[in-house]
Symmetry: C2
Subunit: 261 residues, 2 copies
Protein backbone atom coordinates (compact mmCIF):
# COMPACT_ATOMS: atom_id res chain seq x y z
CA UNK A 1 0.00 0.00 0.00
CA UNK A 2 1.20 3.53 -0.76
CA UNK A 3 2.27 5.71 2.15
CA UNK A 4 -0.48 8.02 3.45
CA UNK A 5 0.62 11.61 3.98
CA UNK A 6 -1.46 14.10 5.95
CA UNK A 7 -0.80 17.77 5.20
CA UNK A 8 -1.78 20.96 7.01
CA UNK A 9 -0.48 24.51 7.47
CA UNK A 10 -1.37 27.78 9.19
CA UNK A 11 -1.62 30.09 6.17
CA UNK A 12 -4.92 28.48 5.19
CA UNK A 13 -6.09 25.82 2.78
CA UNK A 14 -5.70 28.05 -0.29
CA UNK A 15 -2.08 29.10 0.34
CA UNK A 16 0.43 28.65 -2.46
CA UNK A 17 2.93 26.98 -0.11
CA UNK A 18 0.38 24.28 0.77
CA UNK A 19 -0.32 23.55 -2.90
CA UNK A 20 3.42 23.23 -3.53
CA UNK A 21 3.73 20.76 -0.66
CA UNK A 22 0.73 18.70 -1.93
CA UNK A 23 2.34 18.34 -5.32
CA UNK A 24 5.64 17.07 -3.91
CA UNK A 25 3.91 14.77 -1.41
CA UNK A 26 1.82 13.15 -4.17
CA UNK A 27 5.06 11.85 -5.72
CA UNK A 28 5.41 9.69 -2.59
CA UNK A 29 1.92 8.52 -1.69
CA UNK A 30 -1.75 9.26 -1.13
CA UNK A 31 -2.44 12.68 0.33
CA UNK A 32 -5.11 13.98 2.71
CA UNK A 33 -5.06 17.75 3.28
CA UNK A 34 -6.91 19.26 6.21
CA UNK A 35 -6.01 22.88 6.71
CA UNK A 36 -7.57 25.95 8.33
CA UNK A 37 -10.20 27.67 6.17
CA UNK A 38 -8.54 31.03 6.86
CA UNK A 39 -5.17 32.36 7.93
CA UNK A 40 -4.20 30.92 11.33
CA UNK A 41 -0.68 32.30 11.68
CA UNK A 42 0.44 32.84 15.28
CA UNK A 43 -2.04 30.25 16.62
CA UNK A 44 0.75 28.15 18.14
CA UNK A 45 -0.56 25.01 19.81
CA UNK A 46 -4.02 26.43 20.51
CA UNK A 47 -7.17 24.33 20.50
CA UNK A 48 -10.77 25.28 19.80
CA UNK A 49 -12.64 24.66 23.03
CA UNK A 50 -15.61 27.06 23.01
CA UNK A 51 -17.43 25.93 19.85
CA UNK A 52 -17.52 22.80 17.71
CA UNK A 53 -15.64 22.46 14.41
CA UNK A 54 -17.06 22.31 10.89
CA UNK A 55 -15.36 20.80 7.85
CA UNK A 56 -15.85 21.57 4.14
CA UNK A 57 -14.81 19.08 1.47
CA UNK A 58 -12.90 20.90 -1.26
CA UNK A 59 -11.64 18.03 -3.40
CA UNK A 60 -11.93 14.24 -3.31
CA UNK A 61 -9.96 12.59 -6.08
CA UNK A 62 -8.03 9.36 -6.31
CA UNK A 63 -4.91 9.98 -4.18
CA UNK A 64 -5.81 13.52 -3.06
CA UNK A 65 -8.49 14.63 -0.62
CA UNK A 66 -8.63 18.27 0.52
CA UNK A 67 -10.68 19.58 3.44
CA UNK A 68 -11.01 23.04 5.02
CA UNK A 69 -11.64 23.15 8.76
CA UNK A 70 -12.69 26.20 10.78
CA UNK A 71 -10.30 25.31 13.63
CA UNK A 72 -6.62 25.77 14.36
CA UNK A 73 -3.76 23.79 12.77
CA UNK A 74 -3.61 21.56 15.87
CA UNK A 75 -7.36 20.93 15.60
CA UNK A 76 -6.80 19.98 11.94
CA UNK A 77 -4.21 17.33 12.80
CA UNK A 78 -6.27 15.78 15.60
CA UNK A 79 -9.52 15.75 13.62
CA UNK A 80 -7.97 14.49 10.38
CA UNK A 81 -6.14 11.63 12.11
CA UNK A 82 -9.28 10.56 13.94
CA UNK A 83 -12.03 11.08 11.35
CA UNK A 84 -10.74 11.90 7.85
CA UNK A 85 -7.67 9.74 7.19
CA UNK A 86 -8.63 6.34 5.74
CA UNK A 87 -5.75 4.80 7.74
CA UNK A 88 -3.07 6.01 10.16
CA UNK A 89 -0.82 8.47 8.30
CA UNK A 90 2.78 7.41 7.66
CA UNK A 91 3.88 11.03 7.71
CA UNK A 92 2.44 14.43 8.64
CA UNK A 93 3.66 17.54 6.80
CA UNK A 94 2.95 21.17 7.57
CA UNK A 95 3.62 24.19 5.34
CA UNK A 96 5.27 25.24 3.21
CA UNK A 97 4.92 28.25 5.46
CA UNK A 98 5.09 31.72 3.97
CA UNK A 99 7.73 33.14 6.34
CA UNK A 100 10.35 31.90 8.80
CA UNK A 101 9.69 29.49 11.64
CA UNK A 102 13.30 29.38 12.78
CA UNK A 103 14.55 29.99 16.32
CA UNK A 104 11.94 31.17 18.79
CA UNK A 105 9.29 31.56 16.07
CA UNK A 106 8.50 27.88 16.49
CA UNK A 107 6.74 28.82 19.75
CA UNK A 108 4.18 31.07 18.03
CA UNK A 109 3.77 29.18 14.79
CA UNK A 110 0.56 27.32 13.98
CA UNK A 111 2.45 25.45 11.26
CA UNK A 112 4.88 24.11 13.86
CA UNK A 113 2.11 23.59 16.45
CA UNK A 114 0.62 21.07 14.01
CA UNK A 115 3.97 19.29 13.67
CA UNK A 116 4.47 19.05 17.41
CA UNK A 117 0.91 17.74 17.86
CA UNK A 118 1.55 15.02 15.27
CA UNK A 119 4.70 14.04 17.17
CA UNK A 120 2.76 13.86 20.43
CA UNK A 121 0.36 11.50 18.65
CA UNK A 122 3.32 9.25 17.79
CA UNK A 123 3.52 10.20 14.10
CA UNK A 124 6.58 11.22 12.07
CA UNK A 125 6.19 14.86 11.09
CA UNK A 126 8.03 17.65 9.27
CA UNK A 127 7.35 21.39 9.11
CA UNK A 128 8.63 23.35 6.10
CA UNK A 129 8.99 27.14 5.95
CA UNK A 130 10.41 29.51 3.35
CA UNK A 131 11.89 32.80 4.55
CA UNK A 132 9.49 34.82 2.40
CA UNK A 133 6.18 36.17 3.72
CA UNK A 134 4.81 37.08 0.28
CA UNK A 135 1.58 35.20 -0.58
CA UNK A 136 2.99 34.84 -4.12
CA UNK A 137 6.43 33.63 -2.89
CA UNK A 138 8.41 31.52 -5.37
CA UNK A 139 8.87 28.01 -3.95
CA UNK A 140 10.89 26.70 -6.94
CA UNK A 141 14.22 26.53 -5.09
CA UNK A 142 12.56 24.88 -2.06
CA UNK A 143 11.12 21.92 -3.94
CA UNK A 144 14.29 19.77 -4.29
CA UNK A 145 14.98 20.12 -0.55
CA UNK A 146 11.40 19.34 0.40
CA UNK A 147 11.47 16.29 -1.87
CA UNK A 148 14.83 15.08 -0.50
CA UNK A 149 13.84 15.40 3.14
CA UNK A 150 10.43 13.75 2.69
CA UNK A 151 12.14 10.89 0.85
CA UNK A 152 14.73 10.40 3.58
CA UNK A 153 12.15 10.44 6.37
CA UNK A 154 9.81 8.00 4.60
CA UNK A 155 12.75 5.68 3.93
CA UNK A 156 14.57 5.86 7.27
CA UNK A 157 12.01 7.15 9.77
CA UNK A 158 12.74 9.61 12.56
CA UNK A 159 13.99 8.97 16.10
CA UNK A 160 11.17 8.37 18.62
CA UNK A 161 9.38 11.57 19.68
CA UNK A 162 11.39 13.69 17.24
CA UNK A 163 10.05 15.80 14.37
CA UNK A 164 11.83 18.20 12.03
CA UNK A 165 11.61 21.97 11.69
CA UNK A 166 12.95 22.79 8.22
CA UNK A 167 13.57 26.40 7.18
CA UNK A 168 14.67 27.36 3.69
CA UNK A 169 16.56 30.57 2.91
CA UNK A 170 15.15 33.04 0.38
CA UNK A 171 17.77 32.33 -2.28
CA UNK A 172 17.98 31.08 -5.85
CA UNK A 173 18.62 27.31 -6.09
CA UNK A 174 22.22 27.86 -7.16
CA UNK A 175 22.94 29.93 -4.05
CA UNK A 176 21.66 27.41 -1.48
CA UNK A 177 24.71 25.59 -0.10
CA UNK A 178 22.99 22.47 1.29
CA UNK A 179 21.35 21.25 4.50
CA UNK A 180 22.57 21.78 8.05
CA UNK A 181 21.25 19.97 11.11
CA UNK A 182 21.16 22.53 13.93
CA UNK A 183 19.56 23.66 17.15
CA UNK A 184 17.24 26.64 17.62
CA UNK A 185 19.10 29.91 18.06
CA UNK A 186 18.24 31.89 21.15
CA UNK A 187 16.39 35.05 20.16
CA UNK A 188 13.76 37.54 21.30
CA UNK A 189 10.97 39.58 19.81
CA UNK A 190 11.30 43.09 21.29
CA UNK A 191 9.17 46.24 20.99
CA UNK A 192 6.18 43.97 20.52
CA UNK A 193 3.35 46.48 20.37
CA UNK A 194 2.74 49.86 18.79
CA UNK A 195 0.34 52.14 20.64
CA UNK A 196 -2.13 54.20 18.57
CA UNK A 197 -5.11 56.39 19.41
CA UNK A 198 -8.56 55.91 17.89
CA UNK A 199 -10.77 58.80 16.65
CA UNK A 200 -12.45 58.87 20.11
CA UNK A 201 -9.08 59.45 21.76
CA UNK A 202 -8.80 55.97 23.25
CA UNK A 203 -5.59 53.90 23.04
CA UNK A 204 -5.22 50.58 21.27
CA UNK A 205 -2.19 48.37 20.60
CA UNK A 206 -1.12 46.58 17.41
CA UNK A 207 1.19 43.61 17.51
CA UNK A 208 4.46 44.39 15.77
CA UNK A 209 7.98 43.66 17.06
CA UNK A 210 11.61 43.37 16.11
CA UNK A 211 13.39 40.01 15.91
CA UNK A 212 16.68 40.20 17.81
CA UNK A 213 19.24 37.38 17.59
CA UNK A 214 22.76 38.46 18.45
CA UNK A 215 25.73 36.42 17.20
CA UNK A 216 23.96 33.08 16.74
CA UNK A 217 26.50 30.22 17.04
CA UNK A 218 27.52 28.26 13.93
CA UNK A 219 25.59 25.29 15.33
CA UNK A 220 22.28 27.21 15.21
CA UNK A 221 19.52 27.59 12.65
CA UNK A 222 19.89 31.38 12.38
CA UNK A 223 23.56 31.01 11.45
CA UNK A 224 22.78 28.31 8.89
CA UNK A 225 20.05 30.39 7.23
CA UNK A 226 22.14 33.57 7.20
CA UNK A 227 24.93 31.59 5.53
CA UNK A 228 22.90 30.02 2.74
CA UNK A 229 21.93 26.67 4.24
CA UNK A 230 18.58 24.95 4.70
CA UNK A 231 18.27 24.48 8.49
CA UNK A 232 16.87 21.25 9.94
CA UNK A 233 16.18 21.34 13.69
CA UNK A 234 15.07 18.16 15.47
CA UNK A 235 12.32 19.14 17.93
CA UNK A 236 10.18 17.33 20.49
CA UNK A 237 7.01 18.04 22.46
CA UNK A 238 8.76 18.45 25.82
CA UNK A 239 9.64 21.78 27.41
CA UNK A 240 11.62 20.25 30.32
CA UNK A 241 15.07 21.77 30.87
CA UNK A 242 16.69 18.52 32.03
CA UNK A 243 20.00 20.04 33.18
CA UNK A 244 18.12 22.40 35.50
CA UNK A 245 16.54 19.55 37.45
CA UNK A 246 19.78 19.06 39.37
CA UNK A 247 20.54 22.77 39.60
CA UNK A 248 17.20 23.41 41.28
CA UNK A 249 17.86 20.86 44.01
CA UNK A 250 20.61 23.19 45.24
CA UNK A 251 18.33 26.16 45.58
CA UNK A 252 16.28 24.14 48.01
CA UNK A 253 12.73 24.10 46.83
CA UNK A 254 12.65 20.96 48.92
CA UNK A 255 12.98 23.27 51.88
CA UNK A 256 11.16 23.79 55.15
CA UNK A 257 7.70 23.41 53.76
CA UNK A 258 8.34 19.78 52.89
CA UNK A 259 9.52 18.96 56.38
CA UNK A 260 6.84 21.01 58.05
CA UNK A 261 3.96 19.14 56.46
Amino acid sequence: MKPLILITNDDGVRAKGLRTLDEVAMEFGDVVVMAPATNSSGKSHSLTTERPLRVTEIKKEDGLEVYACDGTPVDCVKLAVEYFCPRRPDLVLSGINHGSNSSINVLYSGTMGAVIEATALGLDAIGFSLLNHNPEADFTASVPYVRHIIGQVLEKGLPTDVSLNVNIPRLAAADIKGIKICHEAKAQWLDSFEQRTDPQGRPYWWLTGKFVCNNPPQTSDEWALANGYVSVVPIHPDFTHYAAINELQHISFNGPIVNSI
Copy 2:
Protein backbone atom coordinates in the same frame (compact mmCIF):
# COMPACT_ATOMS: atom_id res chain seq x y z
CA MET B 1 12.49 49.39 46.16
CA LYS B 2 9.97 46.57 46.55
CA PRO B 3 10.04 43.75 43.97
CA LEU B 4 7.56 44.23 41.10
CA ILE B 5 5.50 41.15 40.30
CA LEU B 6 3.48 40.84 37.07
CA ILE B 7 0.61 38.35 37.16
CA THR B 8 -1.52 36.82 34.42
CA ASN B 9 -3.49 33.62 33.75
CA ASP B 10 -5.68 32.01 31.10
CA ASP B 11 -8.89 31.55 33.08
CA GLY B 12 -9.60 35.28 32.88
CA VAL B 13 -9.11 38.31 35.08
CA ARG B 14 -12.02 37.42 37.38
CA ALA B 15 -10.90 33.84 38.19
CA LYS B 16 -10.63 32.81 41.81
CA GLY B 17 -7.17 31.30 41.26
CA LEU B 18 -5.86 34.65 40.01
CA ARG B 19 -7.20 36.48 43.05
CA THR B 20 -5.54 33.91 45.31
CA LEU B 21 -2.22 34.45 43.54
CA ASP B 22 -2.54 38.27 43.80
CA GLU B 23 -3.01 38.03 47.53
CA VAL B 24 0.08 35.88 48.06
CA ALA B 25 2.19 37.99 45.68
CA MET B 26 1.28 41.21 47.53
CA GLU B 27 3.07 39.81 50.60
CA PHE B 28 6.30 40.07 48.55
CA GLY B 29 6.00 43.28 46.52
CA ASP B 30 4.01 45.55 44.24
CA VAL B 31 1.69 43.75 41.88
CA VAL B 32 0.51 44.50 38.34
CA VAL B 33 -2.14 42.14 36.99
CA MET B 34 -2.88 42.00 33.28
CA ALA B 35 -5.08 39.06 32.39
CA PRO B 36 -7.45 38.08 29.59
CA ALA B 37 -10.91 39.63 29.91
CA THR B 38 -12.48 36.23 29.25
CA ASN B 39 -11.52 32.57 29.48
CA SER B 40 -8.48 31.86 27.28
CA SER B 41 -7.79 28.25 28.19
CA GLY B 42 -6.14 26.22 25.42
CA LYS B 43 -4.67 29.34 23.80
CA SER B 44 -1.11 28.05 24.20
CA HIS B 45 1.47 30.53 22.89
CA SER B 46 -0.91 32.23 20.44
CA LEU B 47 -0.71 35.90 19.57
CA THR B 48 -3.41 38.30 18.39
CA THR B 49 -2.35 39.36 14.89
CA GLU B 50 -5.57 40.26 13.05
CA ARG B 51 -6.87 43.06 15.27
CA PRO B 52 -5.44 45.50 17.82
CA LEU B 53 -5.76 45.00 21.58
CA ARG B 54 -7.83 47.00 24.05
CA VAL B 55 -7.21 47.27 27.78
CA THR B 56 -9.65 48.06 30.62
CA GLU B 57 -8.40 49.34 33.97
CA ILE B 58 -10.15 47.44 36.76
CA LYS B 59 -8.27 48.62 39.83
CA LYS B 60 -5.41 51.06 40.52
CA GLU B 61 -4.44 51.12 44.18
CA ASP B 62 -1.17 51.56 45.98
CA GLY B 63 0.68 48.30 45.35
CA LEU B 64 -1.98 46.66 43.15
CA GLU B 65 -3.00 47.53 39.60
CA VAL B 66 -5.39 45.25 37.71
CA TYR B 67 -6.05 45.38 33.95
CA ALA B 68 -8.20 43.25 31.64
CA CYS B 69 -6.93 42.79 28.08
CA ASP B 70 -8.91 41.35 25.15
CA GLY B 71 -5.87 39.37 23.94
CA THR B 72 -4.25 36.04 24.80
CA PRO B 73 -2.12 35.36 27.89
CA VAL B 74 1.04 35.82 25.79
CA ASP B 75 -0.29 39.17 24.53
CA CYS B 76 -0.90 40.14 28.18
CA VAL B 77 2.72 39.48 29.17
CA LYS B 78 4.21 41.34 26.20
CA LEU B 79 1.89 44.34 26.51
CA ALA B 80 2.16 44.63 30.29
CA VAL B 81 5.97 44.48 30.26
CA GLU B 82 6.17 47.13 27.54
CA TYR B 83 3.38 49.55 28.49
CA PHE B 84 1.81 48.90 31.90
CA CYS B 85 4.58 47.92 34.31
CA PRO B 86 6.14 51.01 35.95
CA ARG B 87 9.52 49.20 35.82
CA ARG B 88 10.85 45.86 34.59
CA PRO B 89 9.18 43.09 36.63
CA ASP B 90 11.34 41.07 39.01
CA LEU B 91 9.06 38.08 38.61
CA VAL B 92 6.17 36.99 36.37
CA LEU B 93 3.51 34.66 37.79
CA SER B 94 0.70 32.89 35.96
CA GLY B 95 -2.30 31.14 37.49
CA ILE B 96 -3.30 29.72 39.81
CA ASN B 97 -4.80 27.71 36.98
CA HIS B 98 -8.08 25.90 37.57
CA GLY B 99 -6.94 22.45 36.32
CA SER B 100 -3.72 20.57 35.61
CA ASN B 101 -0.91 21.83 33.40
CA SER B 102 1.31 18.83 34.03
CA SER B 103 2.94 16.68 31.37
CA ILE B 104 1.93 17.44 27.79
CA ASN B 105 -0.77 19.90 28.94
CA VAL B 106 1.90 22.58 29.06
CA LEU B 107 1.80 22.64 25.25
CA TYR B 108 -1.85 23.69 25.09
CA SER B 109 -2.00 25.90 28.17
CA GLY B 110 -2.37 29.65 27.90
CA THR B 111 -1.24 29.91 31.53
CA MET B 112 2.04 28.22 30.65
CA GLY B 113 2.32 30.07 27.31
CA ALA B 114 2.53 33.27 29.36
CA VAL B 115 5.28 31.78 31.55
CA ILE B 116 7.34 30.65 28.55
CA GLU B 117 6.92 34.08 26.93
CA ALA B 118 8.20 35.78 30.08
CA THR B 119 11.23 33.47 30.05
CA ALA B 120 11.90 34.32 26.40
CA LEU B 121 11.87 37.98 27.46
CA GLY B 122 14.57 37.20 30.03
CA LEU B 123 12.32 37.36 33.10
CA ASP B 124 12.04 34.87 35.96
CA ALA B 125 8.60 33.24 35.78
CA ILE B 126 6.48 30.61 37.52
CA GLY B 127 3.19 28.99 36.49
CA PHE B 128 0.94 27.55 39.20
CA SER B 129 -1.89 25.09 38.60
CA LEU B 130 -4.23 23.20 40.93
CA LEU B 131 -5.59 19.84 39.78
CA ASN B 132 -9.18 21.03 40.11
CA HIS B 133 -11.16 22.52 37.20
CA ASN B 134 -13.97 23.83 39.38
CA PRO B 135 -14.38 27.65 39.15
CA GLU B 136 -14.99 27.58 42.93
CA ALA B 137 -11.97 25.34 43.65
CA ASP B 138 -10.52 25.62 47.15
CA PHE B 139 -6.95 26.98 46.96
CA THR B 140 -6.32 26.88 50.73
CA ALA B 141 -3.89 23.96 50.62
CA SER B 142 -2.04 25.50 47.65
CA VAL B 143 -1.21 28.79 49.35
CA PRO B 144 1.75 27.66 51.54
CA TYR B 145 3.43 26.06 48.51
CA VAL B 146 2.82 29.08 46.29
CA ARG B 147 4.24 31.34 49.03
CA HIS B 148 7.30 29.12 49.60
CA ILE B 149 8.19 28.84 45.90
CA ILE B 150 7.72 32.57 45.19
CA GLY B 151 9.91 33.35 48.21
CA GLN B 152 12.67 30.97 47.09
CA VAL B 153 12.68 32.32 43.52
CA LEU B 154 12.75 35.97 44.62
CA GLU B 155 15.59 35.20 47.03
CA LYS B 156 17.73 32.90 44.87
CA GLY B 157 16.66 33.55 41.29
CA LEU B 158 16.31 30.91 38.59
CA PRO B 159 18.93 29.47 36.22
CA THR B 160 19.21 31.43 32.93
CA ASP B 161 16.35 30.71 30.48
CA VAL B 162 14.57 28.47 32.99
CA SER B 163 11.07 28.94 34.41
CA LEU B 164 8.98 26.70 36.65
CA ASN B 165 5.81 24.73 35.97
CA VAL B 166 4.27 24.04 39.37
CA ASN B 167 1.30 21.68 39.71
CA ILE B 168 -0.47 21.07 42.99
CA PRO B 169 -2.45 17.91 43.76
CA ARG B 170 -6.10 18.15 44.76
CA LEU B 171 -5.53 17.16 48.38
CA ALA B 172 -6.02 18.57 51.85
CA ALA B 173 -2.92 20.33 53.22
CA ALA B 174 -2.18 17.46 55.60
CA ASP B 175 -2.09 14.96 52.73
CA ILE B 176 0.41 16.82 50.54
CA LYS B 177 3.80 15.20 51.06
CA GLY B 178 6.03 18.04 49.85
CA ILE B 179 7.64 19.26 46.63
CA LYS B 180 9.35 17.17 43.95
CA ILE B 181 11.49 18.55 41.13
CA CYS B 182 10.68 16.48 38.04
CA HIS B 183 10.49 16.29 34.28
CA GLU B 184 7.34 16.25 32.17
CA ALA B 185 5.82 12.78 31.85
CA LYS B 186 5.26 11.56 28.32
CA ALA B 187 1.52 11.38 27.66
CA GLN B 188 -1.10 11.72 24.94
CA TRP B 189 -4.61 13.03 24.54
CA LEU B 190 -6.54 10.39 22.58
CA ASP B 191 -10.09 10.28 21.17
CA SER B 192 -9.89 14.03 20.81
CA PHE B 193 -13.19 14.79 19.10
CA GLU B 194 -16.78 13.68 19.41
CA GLN B 195 -18.84 13.76 16.23
CA ARG B 196 -22.44 14.97 16.47
CA THR B 197 -25.14 15.79 13.94
CA ASP B 198 -26.99 19.10 13.85
CA PRO B 199 -30.77 19.41 13.28
CA GLN B 200 -30.09 19.87 9.53
CA GLY B 201 -28.28 16.52 9.45
CA ARG B 202 -24.79 18.00 9.07
CA PRO B 203 -21.83 16.77 11.13
CA TYR B 204 -19.85 18.84 13.63
CA TRP B 205 -17.06 17.93 16.05
CA TRP B 206 -16.60 18.90 19.70
CA LEU B 207 -13.19 18.82 21.33
CA THR B 208 -13.06 16.23 24.09
CA GLY B 209 -10.36 13.61 24.71
CA LYS B 210 -8.87 11.20 27.16
CA PHE B 211 -5.54 11.82 28.89
CA VAL B 212 -3.37 8.70 28.64
CA CYS B 213 -0.13 8.41 30.59
CA ASN B 214 1.02 4.84 31.13
CA ASN B 215 3.41 4.02 33.98
CA PRO B 216 4.99 7.45 34.39
CA PRO B 217 8.50 7.11 35.88
CA GLN B 218 9.15 8.17 39.49
CA THR B 219 11.17 11.10 38.13
CA SER B 220 8.12 12.56 36.33
CA ASP B 221 5.45 15.08 37.27
CA GLU B 222 2.58 12.64 36.78
CA TRP B 223 4.12 10.22 39.28
CA ALA B 224 4.75 13.02 41.79
CA LEU B 225 1.17 14.31 41.55
CA ALA B 226 -0.37 10.83 41.75
CA ASN B 227 1.72 10.20 44.88
CA GLY B 228 0.77 13.34 46.78
CA TYR B 229 3.61 15.70 45.85
CA VAL B 230 3.61 19.20 44.39
CA SER B 231 5.49 18.84 41.06
CA VAL B 232 7.99 21.48 39.96
CA VAL B 233 9.24 21.11 36.38
CA PRO B 234 12.00 23.41 35.08
CA ILE B 235 11.05 24.39 31.53
CA HIS B 236 12.61 26.53 28.78
CA PRO B 237 11.46 28.10 25.52
CA ASP B 238 13.41 25.71 23.27
CA PHE B 239 11.91 22.71 21.49
CA THR B 240 15.27 21.41 20.19
CA HIS B 241 15.89 17.71 20.85
CA TYR B 242 19.66 18.07 21.31
CA ALA B 243 20.48 14.33 21.40
CA ALA B 244 18.81 13.87 18.03
CA ILE B 245 21.16 16.34 16.30
CA ASN B 246 23.84 13.63 16.16
CA GLU B 247 21.40 10.82 15.43
CA LEU B 248 20.13 12.65 12.36
CA GLN B 249 23.61 12.97 10.88
CA HIS B 250 23.56 9.18 10.45
CA ILE B 251 20.38 9.15 8.45
CA SER B 252 22.10 11.36 5.92
CA PHE B 253 20.02 14.43 5.44
CA ASN B 254 23.33 15.84 4.33
CA GLY B 255 22.96 13.54 1.35
CA PRO B 256 23.20 13.90 -2.40
CA ILE B 257 21.32 17.15 -2.58
CA VAL B 258 24.05 18.95 -0.72
CA ASN B 259 26.77 17.66 -2.99
CA SER B 260 24.79 18.15 -6.14
CA ILE B 261 24.26 21.88 -5.63
